[in-house]
C-alpha cells in the first residue's frame, strides 16, 4: 500500500492552507507560525510535518533556528493541475472571439 502523502489531501485542511499563506511572504520559525493559531503547538507541529512530507514546505537551518518556507516548485504543480481546464475554456473562447469577429448579421 502506498502511504505517500497526497498533496491535494494536504491542502484540503484549512489550518495547513493558513500555514502556507503565512509562510508565502517570508520564512518563519515553527514558534512564529504557531503563534498565529489557537491550536496547541504539537498540533501545529503535526501540520508542519505533513506539509514537509509532501514537499510543500522546506526547512532551512539558520543559526540555532529552523525556518520554514514555501517550496515554490511544488506549489506550481498544484497550480498546474487546473491548467488543462483553463486551456479548454481558453480554446473555446478564442474560437468564440474569432467566430464573432467575422460575424455578419443575416438580413
Amino acid at each position: 500500500m502506498n502511504l505517500r502523502r497526497d498533496v491535494f489531501q494536504a491542502i484540503a485542511d484549512p489550518t495547513r492552507r493558513a500555514i502556507l499563506l503565512l509562510v508565502a511572504s517570508h520564512s518563519m520559525t515553527a514558534g512564529a507560525i504557531a503563534a498565529n493559531f489557537d491550536t496547541a503547538r504539537p498540533t501545529v507541529s503535526k501540520h508542519l510535518q505533513i506539509l514537509i512530507e509532501c514537499e510543500l514546505l522546506e526547512q532551512e537551518q539558520n543559526g540555532r533556528e529552523i525556518y520554514y518556507h514555501l517550496n515554490g516548485k511544488k506549489m506550481k504543480e498544484i497550480a498546474d493541475f487546473i491548467e488543462p481546464f483553463r486551456q479548454l475554456w481558453d480554446d473555446r473562447f478564442n474560437k468564440l472571439e474569432a467566430l464573432m469577429k467575422n460575424y455578419t448579421p443575416k438580413k
Binding site: 487546473i82 481558453d90 478564442n94 474560437k95 468564440l96 474569432a98 467566430l99 464573432m100 460575424y103
Partner: protein
Amino acid sequence: MERKTQVHAAEGRHDLTITREFDLPVALLFKAYEEAELLAQWMGTKVVKLESRKHGCWQFETSDPKGNVMFRANGTYHEFIPEKKITRTFEMENAPFDVQLEFLDFEALTDNTSKLTMHVIYKSNELRDQMLKLPFAYGINMAHDRLQEIVHKLK
C-alpha cells in the same frame, strides 16, 4: 501568448470563477450564446435544443467521428437577460456528477471590448475538484483537439 482566460478556484471551496476579456462588443459576445448555430461552432458540440429565454432549456450532444454519442448535457435557463446575464443549470447525462449552477455576467468594457465572468457552483468541493481534474485526467479530449485544429487554421 497573453493568458486571456483566467480560472480562479480557491482551495476547499465548491465554486470557481472563469473570466475572459474579448475584443468584441458585448452584443456580439452575447449573440454567441444566444444563437444555436454560433454556440455549436465555438463549443464544438451539436446543439440539440436551445431555448434562449427564461425557463427555456438546452441540450448539447457531442459525437465521435463514427457518430457514437460521447457526451450529452442539458440544463435550464433561470435568467436570460440579453447582453447582461445568463443563469443556467448544467448537467452531464449518464455521468455520476450532480447538476451545477452557472452565473454568466456579460459586461461592456468599451464599445469594442467586453468581459465575461462565469461563476460556477458545484454541490461539493470534492465534485468541483473532480470536474476541474477531468481535462487533466483524460488529457486533451476530442472536442478540445478539434477546437485547437480550428484555432490553428485561423492563425
